[in-house]
């Protein structure tokens, strides 16, 4: 089955379906529907759709389209796993014409780590002076 397509067109991405999937898969980290709707407007999206236009996988980037991007809310729906869709998404991120001058691409996720290491991500070295305000429950 090679009928999947990656799109960044927000008009083709079912926002509510994305949000419901986030609630199911990342319940403790998922924002409320209202907060997600606000975030959606100010993000760059990568959605994998089936030939019928149904959502199969998703990732969201917060970026200045020039120097920095943060990848979050990454998932592949269970029925579409094993078809390398997360790889397809990351390839689309790297190929996106507006993201070619990005100097720093970050991601936080323990679970999907083996995959992201294959995509060129490395763990932030422990001595790296990164500071953050983190509110995982919000």
């Amino acid at each position: 089955m090679d009928a999947y397509e990656v799109t960044s067109d927000p008009a083709r991405i079912p926002r509510e379906t994305v949000h419901k999937a986030l609630l199911r898969m990342h319940s403790c980290h998922a924002p409320s529907a209202e907060v997600f709707a606000a975030a959606f407007v100010n993000s760059v999206h990568f959605a994998v759709l089936t030939a019928r236009g149904e959502l199969a996988a998703y990732a969201r980037l917060i970026t200045d389209k020039a120097t920095f991007a943060h990848l979050c809310d990454v998932f592949v729906l269970p029925e579409h796993r094993g078809q390398h869709l997360s790889r397809k998404i990351i390839e689309a991120v790297f190929a996106h014409p507006e993201l070619q001058s990005i100097r720093q691409l970050t991601h936080v996720d323990n679970e999907s780590k083996p995959f992201f290491q294959h995509s060129g991500f490395a763990s932030t070295p422990i001595q790296e002076p990164v500071l953050a305000i983190l509110r995982p429950q919000q």
Binding site: P31, T63, T67, H70, Q104, T106, F121, P129, A132
Partner: protein, 144 residues
């Protein structure tokens, strides 16, 4: 003690030539092309620090979706204006901004300003192994 400085988020007030001149010397974005910086500013929430006469003496910008995530970067105060509490005022204005409330994550990277940021609730990442990045530190440096 001078109070004649002003902090503004109005993009129209930014002196982009001055900002580029300052930032292109900084260790974290040495040699950044003007057009890359312009595009970055266009897609960020910018904060400018100005003298009463309107001269740009400090800057910071936040990359954010204004709902769940923010990344603070390109923070500077010109050396000739340091010692006036401006960096503290700047971070105060940023953390108080209405679009940057209730975020899931607010992060930054600093080499030596931990004390400044810790006053505003930032702390070193508890679990660095869960943080991943692709970093191209020399991307903007021109070949010799």
């Amino acid at each position: 003690m001078t109070t004649a400085y002003e902090i503004s988020t109005d993009p129209a007030r930014l002196d982009r030539t001055a900002i580029h001149a300052a930032l292109t010397r900084m260790y974290w974005c040495e040699g950044i092309p003007r057009e890359t910086l312009d595009k970055a500013i266009d897609h960020s929430l910018p904060f400018g620090v100005y003298t009463a006469a309107g001269a740009q003496v400090g800057f910071a910008r936040v990359v954010t979706d204004r709902a769940t995530f923010a990344y603070l970067c390109d923070v500077y105060v010109l050396e000739s204006h340091r010692g006036n509490g401006l960096s503290k005022r700047l971070i105060e204005a940023i953390t108080a901004h209405p679009d940057l409330q209730g975020l899931r994550r607010f992060s930054l990277v600093t080499r030596d300003a931990h004390t400044l940021y810790e006053q505003f609730g930032f702390s070193p990442i508890a679990n660095p192994r869960g943080h991943m990045e692709i970093l191209r530190p020399a991307l903007y440096k021109r070949p010799l």
